[in-house]
Amino acid sequence: MLAIFKREMRSYFTSPIGYVFIGVFLAVSGFIFSLSTLQAGIDSDVASYFTMMLFVFSIVIPLLTMKTFSEERRSRTEQLLLTSPVSLFGMVLGKFLAAYTMFACTYLASCLNYYALYKFGTPNTGQLFGYSIAILLVGAAFVSVGIFISSLTQNQIIAAVGTIAVILIFLLASFLNQYIDVYAIRAVLSWISVYSRFGNFTHGVFDFNAVLYYFSITGVFLFLTVRIYEKRRWE
């Protein structure tokens, strides 16, 4: 697992993809941050910043995950991984941790933005902290979705577009609720909605249910990825 993790990390930096991810993430987050807080005049309210960042993730996270498995499959290098003494779960976990490390480190770097708040405004440190934890959890869920979709196809573009679509469904599900009258559908939509669970963190509340939900999403998609590989081996 460690070998796969190390190789993935290295491949982010031997190809442009890692730099593109970090660059786009930092530039867009800085831009949105300045627009939504200091420039908007509501100097210390970061709620809209974090909400918008969720949508930015739908674009940048596929950059990290689109080639994880699709490229291995296309270039047949997965034959090496699958005939090595590595468990399927170890293989999936190694790739997940590499993509997630990229994501988390870049997010932590983007926290430099908050320096401006401390200099010119009156930020609520607890709230920022709660948001950061929520962002890191949502990121884990999205990365695992991206890895799962990458394992379904040999084509990076399809993997990327598919990931964007699924992430948007997760984000937008609760918005559809306004237009739907059937209770059962609304219950399902709000259950899968990543966004509605994000809300409690806004108020600085540590929502244990939400944490469990994000962990479950992450776990389920990693498990499904393992299952995809098992199924392909046995079919």
Partner: protein, 334 residues
């Protein structure tokens, strides 16, 4: 008695209702070099993929080093070095990074630097050690692929078409390499080139459409194939006399004039009985009559001929078996 390294017993792999591998059984002893011969789509790669744990199988048993490949997947995978049909290379890595990655992946516990350098010496890739794999030529890539299979010093090497796409000189090099490796490894290699098997392997297993057609020592395959020997002879002299002379030779089964390419010589196709070498008597009788031989070549048997002869040889036995079964059942009825 050699210890049995690979034991494949009644292996079946089915995709839907199509059999990719249909009831194949064979054993490979320690230190053997076995050639896996068959046309494209015969099930060579599938069998190798199963053996290395990349694919599962529908039924049967596969044991490597006495261990079942499903129950002891980890131990078995450590015992096997695999070069798939398309070498599993990351084009964005250098040879150095790649081999170190494989070393970690296989959880080896040797002296890392020494082990990797030794492998590079054996497959002769030391001069491209620092280069990106994506920039290497096909021959070097193939050798990096073999190097990858050697990492961890596995007892068994499974090489899927190791010389495909190489130029003639590289083919000779890779064959020599395989022979060298064969001194301390058990090797299974697949190919659809008969001469490759003859050049490298101790034993040949031929499969066709997922079924095992033959499992013989390489020398036996050669004689099995030759059966009737055929010669192309270019002889000067009047066709009629030469023909009657040739036909009178003991051992000759048929002679045919197949063409006249220049003014005074005619090419004949001569078939002789198995095990009779008619070249020397041919020379003396023609020389005595002053009909010089200006060209003589053996007509080689291609893979197609091997198949036809082996498949044909097999058919009657299965028919015979069916007959006996039928007889037995009818006898039971009485």
């Amino acid at each position: 008695m050699q210890t049995c390294m690979i034991n494949i017993d009644h292996l079946v792999k089915r995709y839907g209702n199509k059999y990719a591998v249909n009831d194949i059984s064979f054993k490979v002893g320690e230190g053997e070099i076995v050639g896996f011969l068959g046309p494209n789509g015969a099930g060579k790669s599938t069998t190798m993929n199963i053996l290395t744990g990349y694919l599962s199988y529908t039924s049967g048993t596969v044991e490597v080093g006495g261990l079942d490949i499903i129950d002891h997947a980890f131990e078995v995978k450590k015992m096997i070095g695999y070069l798939p049909e398309q070498p599993p290379l990351y084009s964005d890595m250098t040879v150095e990074d790649y081999l170190n990655f494989v070393y970690d992946l296989k959880k080896c516990t040797f002296n890392r630097k020494k082990h990797i350098m030794e492998i590079c010496e054996v497959v002769r890739i030391a001069d491209v050690y620092k280069r990106l794999i994506g920039n290497l030529s096909k021959g070097y890539r193939q050798r990096v692929g073999i190097a990858q299979a050697l990492v961890g010093n596995p007892k068994i090497l499974v090489l899927d078409e190791p010389t495909i796409g190489l130029d003639p000189r590289q083919i000779v090099e890779v064959r020599n390499l395989i022979r060298t490796l064969g001194l301390d490894h058990t090797i299974i290699l697949s190919t659809h080139i008969l001469s490759e098997v003859q050049a490298v392997c101790d034993r040949v297993i031929i499969i066709n459409r997922g079924k095992l057609v033959a499992d013989k020592r390489t020398e036996d395959i050669a004689t099995a194939v030759e059966g009737n020997r055929r010669l192309n002879a270019k002889i000067c002299g009047p066709q009629k006399e030469v023909l009657s002379l040739l036909r009178a030779q003991p051992g000759v089964t048929s002679v045919e004039a197949i063409g006249q390419h220049d003014a005074d010589s005619i090419t004949y196709l001569i078939e002789s009985e198995a095990g009779v070498d008619i070249r020397k008597p041919l020379f003396s009788i023609l020389a005595k009559n002053n009909y010089p031989i200006i060209g003589l070549e053996a007509v080689g048997a291609g893979l197609e001929d091997v198949f036809l002869s082996l498949v044909d040889a097999k058919e009657p036995t299965t028919k015979a078996r069916k007959k006996t079964v039928r007889k037995r059942s009818s006898a039971g009825g009485v």
